[in-house]
């Protein structure tokens, strides 16, 4: 079983080399930078859905224009979550089993704000990640790195009144994938977020500062703008580090602006 899962023998791995990928990524980046230099209004802040270096995006992106519209009533609201849904201890990923997980214990702390700077209060925030060896608990992740019986890699929290959240976890490791030959993802934690409007719903990935795999990774590079990519990278924060216990990272998340404020008053009458 393990021999057929060896990366070298994997029939799903494409033949493309990292060098081929690097040159595709570089071409797109150069074209983008020239375009923005000529017209700063062309600046991009989100990933492209059509990003050929990420091979799986080729058949999974819409080719027709998205239809721009204003939100309807239901879209100006979001589902409600609270402590009925999530226990406080679910934000600590290191206490879910009988023993301590292996790896570097970290705390990730930050705030969730909307595009107008208002805190997103009492909303659900979810994370999932690989363990300290770069292995996910998932039947499709069979690469030869150990599962940690003391780490599932899943956490949930409800944001505070000021939009703050905090997770205690283990620093995940990079892991190999099959986009091209010898492809490795930079270490990351997946985040899932809700706002006050369902149109603000988002899923993203948080990265760690200075990862040498950034330049090689087509998922991170699908955000063509360096400033925008930087928004996914946490900051090491020694004030979150605690003595003989954990190192600390800070990462704030900005959702798109809520469109609902103007109707909050009449909302109270709607039932």
């Amino acid at each position: 079983m393990t021999s057929t899962n060896s990366p070298k023998l994997d029939p799903l791995a494409t033949a493309d080399s990292q060098e081929t990928l690097n040159s595709e990524i570089q071409d797109i980046s150069t074209t983008y930078e020239q375009r923005v230099k000529a017209d700063p209004k062309q600046e991009e802040t989100q990933p492209r859905l059509n990003y050929p270096p990420y091979r799986s995006s080729l058949l999974r992106h819409p080719t027709k224009d998205l239809h721009h519209t204003d939100p309807e009533t239901i879209e100006l609201h979001s589902p409600a979550f609270g402590h009925r849904d999530v226990h406080q201890l679910e934000s600590d990923l290191t206490i879910q089993h009988n023993g301590e997980p292996l790896g570097e214990r970290i705390v990730i702390r930050g705030r969730v704000l909307d595009g107008n700077g208002r805190p997103v209060r009492n909303q659900l925030i979810e994370v999932w990640q690989a363990n300290a060896s770069g292995r996910y608990i998932h039947k499709r992740d069979q690469h030869p790195a150990p599962i940690d019986p003391n780490f599932s890699g899943v956490g949930r929290a409800i944001t505070g009144d000021d939009g703050t959240y905090e997770f205690t976890t283990i620093k995940p490791a990079p892991y190999p994938w099959k986009n091209h030959h010898n492809a490795w993802r930079p270490a990351h934690v997946h985040f899932s977020l809700f706002g006050t409007d369902f149109t603000q719903r988002m899923i993203t990935q948080m990265y760690f500062p200075g990862d040498p795999l950034f330049a090689l990774d087509p998922i991170y590079q699908s955000i063509t703008d360096q400033k925008a990519r930087d928004r996914l990278v946490a900051t090491y924060d020694h004030s979150i580090t605690s003595h003989e216990w954990n190192t600390g990272y800070r990462w704030d998340i900005i959702l798109t602006g809520s469109q609902q404020t103007w109707m909050e008053e009449e909302d109270h009458d709607h039932s």
């Binding site: 989100q46 990933p47 999974r60 009533t73 999530v86 039947k139 949930r156 798109t256």
Partner: protein, 197 residues
């Protein structure tokens, strides 16, 4: 505080590892009864189901679908408890994944109109491996008041058809085509950025 920079944080793909694919141990995003907004035995229960396809018409077995909707009277739920469901409380939100053949299923109620004369719909958000950011769409309910003169649907011409679910008894069928001739209409809302090459 970093409120000096209020540009929205970029999205990223959900990737392949969001669900354990083991009904006994749903350790990642999917959770028990996530796709049952009401119990199947509820008198009001309908099924919203469909298949998610890629640009070659191949079903996508690793997508996650969420729905958000009004209740049968058109009221917007304010009830918490979606993650640990009370079968008598309607929260309006559900999460499901596509199965090995790309099909998702929700048990829910048919939403009423939130505003008089407005066409009711179930809001859907799609995440998948290979899809670099979320996609929003709407499953409109067939044969309901307001469909005929809905401004959004009218503006879409022939493509509006991709947004109207098909009724089959207690089932509403709504396939999602991420790409291709039958590509589903996806929406962008104010403040969103979907850059194209």
């Amino acid at each position: 505080m970093t409120t000096h920079d209020l540009t929205p944080t970029p999205g990223q793909t959900i990737g392949p590892f969001f669900g354990y694919f083991n009904a006994a141990e749903q350790v990642h995003l999917p959770f028990e009864d996530g796709d049952h907004l009401v119990p199947p035995a509820d008198d009001r229960a309908i099924q919203l189901t469909g298949t998610v396809f890629d640009g070659e018409g191949t079903p996508i077995p690793d997508a996650m679908i969420e729905i958000w909707q009004a209740d049968e009277h058109g009221d917007i739920p304010k009830q918490d408890g979606s993650l640990i469901r009370d079968p008598f409380a309607f929260t309006g939100w559900g999460r499901g994944t596509t199965d090995n053949v790309g099909t998702y299923r929700f048990t829910t109620v048919q939403p009423g109109a939130t505003d008089e004369g407005k066409a009711p719909f179930i809001h859907i958000v799609v995440f998948a491996r290979g899809l670099l950011n979320k996609l929003h769409t709407r499953a409109y309910i067939p044969e309901t008041e307001g469909l005929e003169n809905d401004a959004t649907l009218s503006a879409l011409g022939d493509r509006a058809e991709t947004l109207i679910a098909k009724r089959d008894g207690k089932r509403l069928i709504f396939d999602i085509h991420l790409q291709g001739n039958n590509e589903t209409v996806f929406f962008s809302y104010p403040g969103m950025d979907y850059p194209k090459p």
